[in-house]
């Protein structure tokens, strides 16, 4: 335990600005941090990579003072600090850019930047001058008088970075900054980060996208199951080696075997159009067929109509157009009737749409299946049968839990998701709608869920797969449709498309 692995890679000679030693944090039921050791050097970009749930976010919350560590020490610029709140962290020169921006849309850039930091340079000319100085010296290209609501995602992110620098940060943490960006915005961000390090700032860059990490980072620390596995230089590793360090074993691949597509159409969508509250069309003329044994992947930057499409098919939104399930018109069927007709539904947000967090697992097994055996017998809930079937799912889908009476809240994300997959695959559905099925789950659960989707396909289900993970889409789908601003803008064969090609179609670049 005592030998820190960080000494292995001391490529640059720059002094250490952040030194983490033996950081530990335990949460009940969740993977926490254990014996984390990291040295971040001045004027470098230090990437921290790891699978979802490996403990990256916990670590960053500790470094930003959101949560105190249970053990270990944090040194900043050679002084041991105790960060009890984000205010402490900011005072120590640590700033954080969150994945979800914390900006007020109806304020200008300047107002957003000074908000809460009015004491530094006031809210007038001095503040403006300081913002321009920062913007110019790091090439952030920020316009202080623009309303934030007019800005694109990339520009908003630059405002967030500027906010952090304005407050005097010398160490900037970016949590999955590229998750919301399209490829050319990613390049711009990386240029900004290189400016920062040139000026002697340190950047801590959290990601699980290995190609990005390899292109921008000076040092890479791999975290697995809450602990630091190794710190490497990007010159010395390949993406594959890095991936194997992250996963700890051979990399699971989503690629499917031979085609099982038949010519039987199970889900047919024609001219589906959905109007938003403001009259703007959220979905416009969407048409596709999914055949028995086929996986149709939907690629798109988040917020381009994927959720609306899924909710329209599920009957949770009232759309126009035609939806047929195995030939049966679903126009007048409720969500419950559509489920009973044979649609399994893995929602994108499992905690909001898929689970009753404060109910036991067996009640969660009943959810969405209230009207059918084994959950119900006539108007009564069949607790005994539902519990027994929950036990079956726990065993067959490897849900790690002491039993079916545990509250869903007590399970980790991956186990919650496996329970949902198991539930939706029961009662013999003919169509499976899987929305981001592996988001936020650990790598073991991810491989298992991929396996279940492949099984579903092999067993003749029609699968609609929505995912932000392009590798997952390419690996699992028989056909990929790209959605952009509520329209289908292109069909791709996963056999000969690269993530880059999909990426540019998703942003409309190639059209």
């Amino acid at each position: 335990m005592s030998a820190p692995t960080v000494e292995e890679a001391t490529s640059t000679g720059a002094p250490v600005t952040v030194r983490l030693r033996g950081i530990g944090k335990r949460f009940p039921g969740v993977i926490a941090n254990d014996d984390i050791n990291i040295d971040v050097r001045r004027g470098t970009i230090h990437a921290i990579v790891g699978e979802n749930g490996a403990g990256k976010s916990t670590l960053m919350k500790i470094l930003y003072g959101v949560q105190p560590p249970d053990s270990g020490t944090i040194e900043i610029e050679g002084t041991q600090v105790s960060l009890k709140s984000p205010a402490d962290a900011i005072a120590a020169g640590v700033g954080m850019v969150f994945q979800h921006f914390m900006l007020a849309d109806n304020l200008t850039v300047l107002e957003n930047v000074v908000l809460g930091a009015e004491k530094l340079h006031g809210i007038g000319g001095a503040a403006r001058a300081e913002i321009m100085r920062i913007s110019d010296s790091y090439g952030l290209d920020v316009e202080p008088d623009r309303m934030v609501e007019e800005l694109g995602v990339g520009a908003r992110q630059r405002v967030e970075i500027l906010k952090v620098l304005y407050r005097g940060a010398r160490i900037v943490i970016l949590d999955e900054p590229t998750a919301v960006l399209v490829p050319h915005e990613v390049d711009e961000l990386f240029d900004n980060l290189r400016e920062l390090k040139k000026e002697g700032l340190s950047v801590i860059f959290i990601s699980h996208k290995l190609d990005e990490v390899l292109s921008v980072a000076d040092e890479i620390t791999v975290i697995r199951r809450g602990t630091t596995v190794k710190t490497v230089s990007p010159r010395d590793v390949t993406a594959r080696q890095l991936a194997e360090l992250m996963v700890g074993s051979e990399l699971p691949s989503p690629s499917t075997e031979t085609s099982t597509v038949t010519d039987v159409v199970l889900l047919s969508v024609k001219n589906l159009t959905l109007a938003g509250v403001d009259g703007r069309e959220l979905l416009k003329d969407i048409s596709f067929d999914i055949h028995k044994g086929e996986v149709l992947g939907i690629a798109g930057v988040e917020g381009n109509g994927q959720e609306e499409l899924v909710e329209s098919i599920m009957g949770m939104r009232h759309s126009s157009g035609e939806i047929r399930l195995d030939g049966r018109d679903l126009a007048h069927e409720s969500t419950g009737e559509r489920r009973e007709a044979g649609i399994g539904y893995i929602p994108a947000d499992r905690q909001r749409h898929g689970l009753l967090l404060d109910a036991p697992l067996w009640e969660n097994r009943v959810l969405g299946h209230q009207g059918r055996p084994p959950s119900a017998r006539g108007p009564l809930i069949d607790k005994r049968a539902a519990r027994a079937d929950t036990e079956r799912i726990i065993a067959a889908y490897d849900v790690r839990t002491p039993g079916p009476d545990v509250l869903a809240r007590a399970l980790s994300g991956g186990n919650q998701q496996k329970l949902i997959v198991g539930r939706e695959m029961s009662s013999e559905p003919i169509v499976l709608i899987a929305s981001h099925p592996t988001r936020g789950v650990d790598v073991g659960a991810q491989a298992a869920i991929w396996g279940h989707i492949k099984d579903a396909r092999r067993n003749g289900l029609a699968v609609l797969l929505i995912s932000a993970d392009l590798d997952e889409l390419i690996g699992l789908s028989d056909r990929i449709e790209v959605i952009l601003r509520g329209r289908m803008v292109g069909t791709f064969d996963p056999g000969d498309v690269t993530p880059e090609q999909l990426g540019s179609a998703m942003t409309g670049a190639s059209l």
Binding site: P28, T335, R352, E363, Q370, T401
Partner: protein, 370 residues
């Protein structure tokens, strides 16, 4: 401790903690006002006479039904503040129907009970429909419906009532004797002590409450909607329908609240008919955790405090209103202590899950390190 025992201990610790806190706060109020703390508690906590026990059970029966009505809404995260108006308008209609005696004997009673439930359901259903179709908060609409119910009943009472000779009291026609629900004698005395026969129906209502909510599909849908509207929608539950149904069910139970009094002691609805029972029900439902047995305990506790406080003025010179403070404090402390205990319970459960998975993780970690 086995999980079942742990659960029981946790479940009991919350109300006990709450009662203890309420006891301390009430004592502090008494002490601050310079009242004899010891003597007040001496009276409140003395063993009630059989005569008082009868009163406590009668009062608890009424409060129990009121608590059940509120609890139906609470289970779905609906705040039916309108139990008060619902039971008064329902009791009035039941009194008119039973007083007219269109049907003979107990058929008349059954008709009156059904009318009361229907009227309560419709009155509460107004708030349900407004919520489902227009998004009007049921808290606001039921409060306003309470005011309307008060005015409406006062108006209709003048229309329908008969004035007793030589009295200012007006009331509906007296219910014929063969349609009254006979009392149950619990002590042959002297003095002879009776309780409402309706207590049997209240127990039955409690059983049905438990059965419908915990054992049926409808109850599952209702509870699921209360826990997460979004998950309920995704699972195929029509939340709008459930909102109307839950409000109507709550109102139907509320319709029963005034009936023990109507059919067991007053036999008519007059301007002096007991009011305010609906609000006590909200407090009792909270105290009883919306659970059929818990509500019974809460109703008995409130009825006990009410009964024991009656002689306070005479015996120790303290206003019986002090128990209103105690009851109010109990509601507050109960809400807080349930939340504290709930969080503790969730944490314990997560730890149990973590422990169960620890071994496995340790093994994997050993591999990782190696």
């Amino acid at each position: 401790m086995t999980p079942r025992v742990t659960k029981l201990v946790l479940g009991l610790s919350a109300p006990i903690l709450a009662l203890l806190m309420a006891f301390l706060i009430t004592s502090a109020v008494l002490a601050a006002a310079g009242d004899p703390v010891g003597e007040v508690w001496g009276q409140l906590l003395s063993v009630p006479e059989t005569r008082n026990v009868g009163n406590i059970i009668d009062n608890a029966t009424v409060l129990y039904l009121s608590g059940l009505a509120a609890a139906v809404g609470f289970r779905m995260n609906l705040f039916n503040i309108g139990v008060d108006g619902q039971y008064r308008i329902a009791a009035f209609v039941a009194a008119v129907v039973a007083g007219e005696a269109w049907l003979p004997g107990y058929l008349n009673t059954v008709l009156a009970v059904l009318c009361a439930m229907a009227v309560g359901a419709v009155w509460a259903g107004i708030a349900g429909v407004l919520r489902a179709t227009r998004g009007v908060s049921e808290v606001i609409s039921t409060i306003m419906l309470n005011a309307i119910a008060t005015a409406l009943v006062a108006y209709l009472l003048r229309e329908a009532a008969v004035r007793e000779a030589g009295s200012n009291v007006i009331a509906t026609k007296t219910i014929p004797e063969d349609s009254r629900i006979p009392n149950i004698t619990i002590s042959d005395g002297p003095p002879v002590v009776d309780i409402y026969g309706f207590v049997v129906l209240a127990v039955l209502a409690g059983f049905l409450f438990w059965f419908v909510l915990n054992k049926t599909r409808f109850g599952f849908d209702l509870r699921a909607t209360g826990r997460s509207t979004t998950a309920a929608v995704a699972s195929g539950i029509s939340v709008n329908k459930m909102t109307v149904a839950a409000m109507m069910l709550s109102g139907a139970v509320a319709g029963l609240v005034g009936l023990p009094i109507l059919l067991g002691s007053s036999f008519s609805y007059g301007s002096t008919f007991q009011s305010g029972l609906g609000f006590a029900g909200i407090a009792i439902a909270l105290l009883g955790r919306n659970n059929a047995v818990g509500i019974a305990v809460g109703a008995l506790l409130f009825a006990y405090l009410n009964e024991q406080s009656n002689p306070l003025q005479i015996l120790v010179g303290v206003s019986p209103d002090i128990v209103a403070i105690t009851q109010g404090t109990i509601v507050l402390t109960v809400v807080i202590s349930y939340e504290v205990v709930r969080r503790y319970g969730v944490r314990m459960e997560q730890q149990a899950v973590a422990r169960a998975l620890e071994q496995e993780r340790d093994d994997e970690r050993a591999e990782v390190k190696a």
